[in-house]
């Protein structure tokens, strides 16, 4: 056992001295976490991180400004202003999109504020022009949805303030009566609707005034097709989720991948350098040497995770929901990639061959397993495919421990998968490498 520990200690020292290895084990995962953490909304400077949109307000009324403000209040939209502080024109907003300063521009037309959000009944609603960066077409539909939501919010607002709605209704009614192109039947229908709405607005306003006199506060009718309550799906004991908590499980897996690849290469390196012969001549078996390789890989994974988490916790504010679950996830992930390391070490007889197999094998695992792109952004068939990747189970278990708030029972499945892969890989590697040594 002493020799196994001595050999494992030596391997860890060699790994630490290998600048390329340290980059993949520590620096790259850290860069990964910082980069994606910032994208997911970290940044650490309190700045908004929504879609940057330039609003061209051609109407410039209270109504249009309220519409833009209501959209800007959303996390999903970051209202950008022109560099010189002047209002956007259509041309300057288009240039901002083309130069990448804004993801999209939105033109609020003249007369937008006059309709009070109820112009849809006339069949002639205001037309909002939207221009989206061609490279961000995926966000186009998302922005359309946000604009539509904002418009309905205006309608809701109008119904919430019946007194302010009545002048708009009167104007709409006179516009309809003056419209010569409209059919008589349609005109009668709209006039009847506006009359009924005006009656409703009058009665609602009276009810509101009466309520104010009685309670001292003006209540507002809850006029909305649905009421949405956003529930927090993350079980947290304190505070909102930190974006780095989302990016760190993936970063940790990259650290483990780097450690496993490094140790697989190092195992073959022993042979090319001739040190393998010296180790074989020592007073221990080949099994002991291979066991030491497994131990050093397991320890390297644990050390890499510990260092990453120390930085994550103390520098970036990453919190762990359950340390017991985290220890479980870390141990099982390290065991899994130790097994994979042993498999990859059997696949080549030169450093180049093993490096090719290790990185070439683990990259696709990371790609389909959510190590590069979060699983939620993948199509369903790829999410199904990801079940075959150990990376998916590793990320899943780490997320469960860090921010998904998994119970121990829920941790069992990913941990069992990871342990099974690790055990099979380790036994396979031991068998093949021992036989190869005769």
């Amino acid at each position: 056992m002493r020799n196994i520990l001595a050999m494992a200690k030596k391997d860890l020292l060699l790994l630490w001295r290998d600048k390329f290895g340290v980059f993949w084990i520590l620096l790259f995962p850290l860069m990964f976490a910082l980069f994606f953490g910032s994208i997911f909304g970290g940044g650490g400077d309190g700045a908004t991180s929504g879609m940057r949109v330039a609003f061209v307000d051609l109407d410039n009324t209270d109504g249009s400004r309220a519409f833009i403000d209501s959209l800007g209040a959303k996390d999903a939209i970051d209202v950008v202003t022109a560099p010189d502080g002047t209002p956007w024109t259509i041309d300057s907003a288009r240039d901002a999109v083309l130069s990448g300063d804004a993801v999209a521009y939105v033109v609020v037309p003249e007369g937008f504020g006059e309709t009070g959000g109820i112009a849809m009944f006339t069949g002639d609603p205001p037309e909002i022009e939207v221009g989206v960066d061609p490279s961000r077409t995926a966000e186009k539909g998302y922005l359309d949805g946000l604009l539509m939501e904002g418009s309905f919010r205006r309608l809701q607002s109008a119904f919430s303030d019946p007194a302010s709605m009545r002048p708009d209704l009167a104007k709409l009614k006179s516009d309809v009566l003056a419209d010569q192109n409209m059919s008589d039947q349609w005109r009668d229908s709209l006039v009847t609707l506006f009359g009924a709405l005006d009656t409703f607005a009058g009665m609602a306003d009276e009810a509101k005034q009466a309520e104010k006199a009685e309670t001292g506060a003006a209540g507002s009718p809850d006029i909305s097709p649905i009421h949405i309550r956003h529930a927090d799906v993350v079980r947290r004991s304190s505070g909102p989720i930190n974006a780095y908590e989302i990016s760190f499980p993936q970063a940790i897996v990259w650290g483990i991948i780097g450690a496993a690849a490094g140790l697989a290469i190092m195992l073959v390196q022993e042979k090319s350098r001739g040190t393998w012969v010296r180790l074989r001549l020592g007073p221990h078996t080949t099994g002991h040497i291979l066991a030491s390789k497994g131990l050093s890989c397991f320890a390297a994974c644990i050390i890499a995770i510990t260092l990453l988490m120390l930085i994550g916790h103390f520098v970036l504010g990453v919190r762990v929901h359950s340390w017991i679950s985290f220890a479980l996830a870390v141990s099982c992930s390290a065991a899994c990639f130790t097994g994979l390391m042993m498999i990859f070490a059997t696949l080549g007889r030169t450093e180049q061959a093993v490096a090719g197999w290790a990185w070439g094998g683990m990259m696709p695992m990371a790609m389909i397993g959510g190590g590069m792109v979060p699983l939620v952004m993948m199509p369903s068939w790829m999410r199904s495919l990801s079940n075959l990747s150990p990376v998916k189970w590793s990320v899943y278990s780490l997320e469960g421990a860090i921010w998904r708030g998994f119970t121990i029972e829920r941790m069992l499945l990913p941990c069992a998968v990871l342990l099974a892969v690790g055990l099979i890989g380790f036994c396979f590697g031991m068998l093949v490498l021992s036989r190869r040594e005769g």
């Binding site: 001295r17 001739g274 012969v277 010296r278 074989r280 001549l281 020592g282």
Partner: protein, 293 residues
């Protein structure tokens, strides 16, 4: 001490070692001399148990398996088998620790090995930045750090500068004087001739002959040659072969031949005595030179 009996090793269709047998006595320096690819390293690897023979057996200090005698064997492989990212001190500490050395004993052994290799003043430097000669010396020291009784040296002077080569020779001669049993493989006949008590000449996986160097020369080297460049062609017939003014005399006693030339007042401008050596022996046994390859 070491008994090698009819070792055979095949790599695919190539028979690398074909029935090699020899015995090595305690305290003896035994040479395996042959060209590259002759089967020396394969034989060594089977002797120490790194390779399993297809046939034959190896007995070391009475143990029927090399694995049982590993503590008493030290090997300096042909390639420098050290960790270049570690310092000389770290390398030696690691290898010594594998043999159970701890604490003060470990420190003493490492200190001895550093002195032996002549790198004590650079013990804290990474081996990767050492010169080729320093690496070779440290490679040898790493084989000795656990105080083995048997030392296997596989081409220890390949790619070494003359100064380091002399240092290695001096080290080996000291170890020899200390009574260590040494197996030395080389394709440099002058090394085998200088260092080895007995030499096995090996080619194409077979031992062609095995004996002390003088005995091998006596058996296969033929007579010494005295080559004389005469001032003028002789008038009277002389012994030996005459080619223009160059006279070649094959003899068992070259000094007597030279005395005879003086006695005859033969005028000459140059004289050279060429004695048989292991190169001659190898040429005689195989029909080719050691370094034909």
């Amino acid at each position: 001490m070491i008994r090698v009996n009819a070792l055979v090793k095949n790599f695919g269709t190539l028979r690398a070692v074909d029935g090699v047998s020899f015995d090595i006595n305690a305290g003896e320096t035994f040479g395996l001399l042959g060209p590259n690819g002759a089967g020396k390293s394969t034989t060594i690897n089977m002797v120490v148990g790194v390779l399993d023979p297809d046939a034959g057996s190896v007995e070391i200090e009475g143990a029927s398996s090399p694995a049982q005698a590993r503590r008493s064997i030290g090997v300096a492989p042909q390639s420098v088998s050290l960790y270049p990212e570690l310092t000389a001190l770290e390398n030696l500490r690691f290898f010594a620790s594998l043999y159970g050395y701890r604490g003060k004993t470990l420190a003493e052994r490492v200190e001895w090995a550093l002195d032996f290799a002549g790198v004590a003043n650079r013990a804290g430097d990474r081996v990767g930045i050492y010169s080729g000669g320093m690496k070779r010396r440290l490679n040898l020291a790493a084989a000795l750090v656990h105080e083995p009784r048997i030392l296997l040296l596989d081409e220890p002077t390949v790619g070494v500068d003359p100064q380091s080569r002399n240092h290695i020779f001096a080290c080996i001669e000291k170890l020899r004087a200390d009574g260590l049993t040494i197996i030395y493989t080389t394709h440099y006949m002058e090394e085998a001739q200088r260092l080895c008590d007995r030499v096995a000449i090996i080619d194409h996986g077979r031992v062609l002959d095995l004996d002390t160097v003088p005995a091998l020369i006596a058996r296969h080297g033929g007579k010494a040659v005295v080559e004389v460049v005469l001032e003028r062609p002789p008038i009277t017939p002389v012994g030996g072969k005459l080619d223009g003014t160059t006279l070649r005399i094959e003899t068992d006693d070259p000094v007597a031949e030279i005395n005879a030339l003086y006695a005859d007042r033969t005028a000459f401008t140059a004289i050279e005595i060429r004695r048989a050596n292991l190169e001659t022996v190898f040429l005689s046994l195989t029909g080719r030179r050691l370094r034909d390859d």
